[in-house]
């Protein structure tokens, strides 16, 4: 359950794993991301829940990712992901477009143990046209045709995120970021880095229980103070927009990215 290091936490993420990661302000495990890069992780299939930015761009830039499913990639204000788009253009990354509520719904299908889930909208969008795994069927409960899209359930092998705290039992405080709970419910294994492990029981007090993710769904935890930086962590620290903008500028080129990585994570094998 509680791992001695972030390196040990991510050691078991095998090539080919479908890894679900949260959007930039929901609790992104950046320290764990650097650990993955340093460990030479490769062949990962990332699922952005439902969008991603810095974390995905770094993993793609470091050559860790074969496939990415995301409703949007946005690093900083300018948006887009320099390393992601470069890899897509070179054919080194397969990008599957989706839309935010489709990711949430497909995870909720697994959360409910059902094989698929319908979703409104999507008809006439190229996002639908590009998905050979989504189907359009007539609503069986309607009098008229009423076409509706069916999405297959998404089941990540791993959910990876960062949270403010966990207790010794392994319950994790996620607050309002309820999609982290859905990710954990749907994933085979859930790996969490936290700012600290606290004494006491998050379920002892209704106020903390309301924002807690039960240890039932948590596989392993590691302590990583500042573990989301330069992204933010709820009300503990805000995103460092300057640092994110610096990354976005550096990552425009492969050389700039390598230099950034060397400075941000000196032990990474990807660094020159």
């Amino acid at each position: 359950m509680l791992q001695p290091s972030v390196e040990r936490l991510v050691a078991g993420i095998a090539p080919g794993s479908l890894v679900a990661v949260p959007r930039d302000y929901a609790g992104v495990a950046m320290t764990a991301t650097h650990a993955l890069v340093a460990a030479g992780a490769h062949g990962l299939r990332l699922l952005a829940v439902p969008t991603s930015g810095l974390q995905t761009d770094v993993l793609v830039g470091a050559g860790c990712v074969d496939e990415l499913e995301a409703a949007g990639i946005t690093v900083g204000e300018a948006g887009g992901g320099p390393r992601v788009f470069d890899a897509v253009a070179r054919g080194a990354l397969r990008l599957r477009d989706t839309t935010c509520p489709a990711v949430h719904a497909a995870l909720q299908a697994t959360e409910k143990g059902i094989p698929f889930i319908p979703l409104r909208g999507l008809l006439g969008s190229d996002v639908l046209r590009g998905r050979d795994d989504w189907q359009v069927v007539p609503n069986p409960f309607a009098d008229d045709e009423d076409p509706i899209v069916l999405l297959p359930a998404l089941r990540p092998d791993v959910a990876l995120f960062h949270a403010p705290r966990a207790d010794r039992e392994g319950n994790v405080w996620i607050g309002r970021q309820r999609e982290l709970a859905t990710m954990a419910h749907a994933a085979g294994r859930t790996l969490v880095t936290v700012e600290e492990v606290v004494e006491g029981d998050l379920f002892a007090d209704e106020a903390t229980a309301a924002g807690a993710l039960s240890s039932l769904y948590v596989t392993d935890i590691a302590v990583a103070p500042g573990g989301a930086r330069p992204l933010g962590c709820q009300d503990l620290y805000a995103p460092d927009h300057e640092a994110i903008a610096r990354y976005a500028r550096a990552a425009r080129t492969a050389e700039g990215f390598a230099a950034w990585l060397a400075e941000a994570a000196p032990l990474s094998p990807a660094a020159p």
Binding site: G80, C100, R120, L122, G124, V127
Partner: protein, 238 residues
């Protein structure tokens, strides 16, 4: 643009604004201060009134609780199709935009979808988008309680007529004419014989913008908030 967006929020009980949308955020906050419209600014910890995480906006919209939402796009065409995917022939795009986000869904269920694009040029307003994130209209028989109602740009306001799947010029901003807007627009649209000028913000709306709104937006949009406070944002105040 802020005044034009604000005018389109009249009568809305609840408005949601996505990330990276300072102009709609400013308009929504003026509406909140003046008319009591509930403004949900996603990503802003104080104003994001959702307790159920990232999916809640979409669920609330599906329930019919979000009266208005805003959508920008790399390209917007004359049928109000919005392209947030990229340029080329989908799926082979030679240039990618950040992504569709929730547009492929929200465009169907939000009754007042307000399209906005500060840059109004031939390249941002093609006759036909390269790829469709959110279609402007749907065939009969497709569940679609919502859709685009207007396009607000840095030059003009165009109203979208769903039945005709076509825009109609509503007003031109100060400094623009019907002719200058026509010359900058790649798609065809209807035009009334006389085109009024887009009304500006009133004095007390301007006051709100420079004071309360600028202060409240400072955490999420520091640069933009500074411009508002300095009264420099004439582009936005129009």
């Amino acid at each position: 643009m802020i005044a034009a967006i604000l005018a389109r929020l009249e009568g809305c009980r609840t408005v949601a604004v996505g990330a990276s949308s300072p102009l709609p955020a400013a308009a929504a906050m003026i509406a909140q201060a003046r008319y009591g419209t509930r403004a949900l600014l996603l990503g802003d910890r104080r104003r994001d009134r959702f307790g159920d995480g990232g999916r809640e906006l979409f669920d609330a919209a599906a329930q019919g609780r979000i009266d208005a939402f805003f959508l920008s796009g790399g390209q917007i065409d004359g049928q109000a199709n919005v392209n947030l995917l990229g340029l080329g022939t989908y799926p082979s795009l030679h240039r990618r935009f950040p992504g569709s986000f929730g547009s492929a869904f929200l465009a169907f269920v939000v009754p007042r979808l307000i399209l906005f694009r500060e840059e109004h040029t031939l390249r941002t307003t093609p006759a036909r988008v390269d790829a469709i994130s959110a279609p402007g209209t749907s065939a009969a028989g497709v569940y679609r309680p919502g859709g685009p109602v207007a396009l607000v740009t840095g030059r003009a306001v165009l109203a979208f007529h769903r039945e005709r799947a076509r825009f109609r010029l509503s007003s031109t901003h100060p400094g623009e004419t019907a002719a200058s807007v026509r010359a900058a627009t790649g798609f065809d649209y209807d035009e009334p014989p006389a085109v009024p000028e887009t009304p500006l913000l009133t004095d007390d709306e301007r006051e709100l913008l420079r004071g309360e709104v600028a202060r409240d937006l400072a955490a999420t949009y520091p640069g933009f908030a500074r411009e508002l406070a300095d009264g420099v944002a004439s582009r936005g105040a129009g």
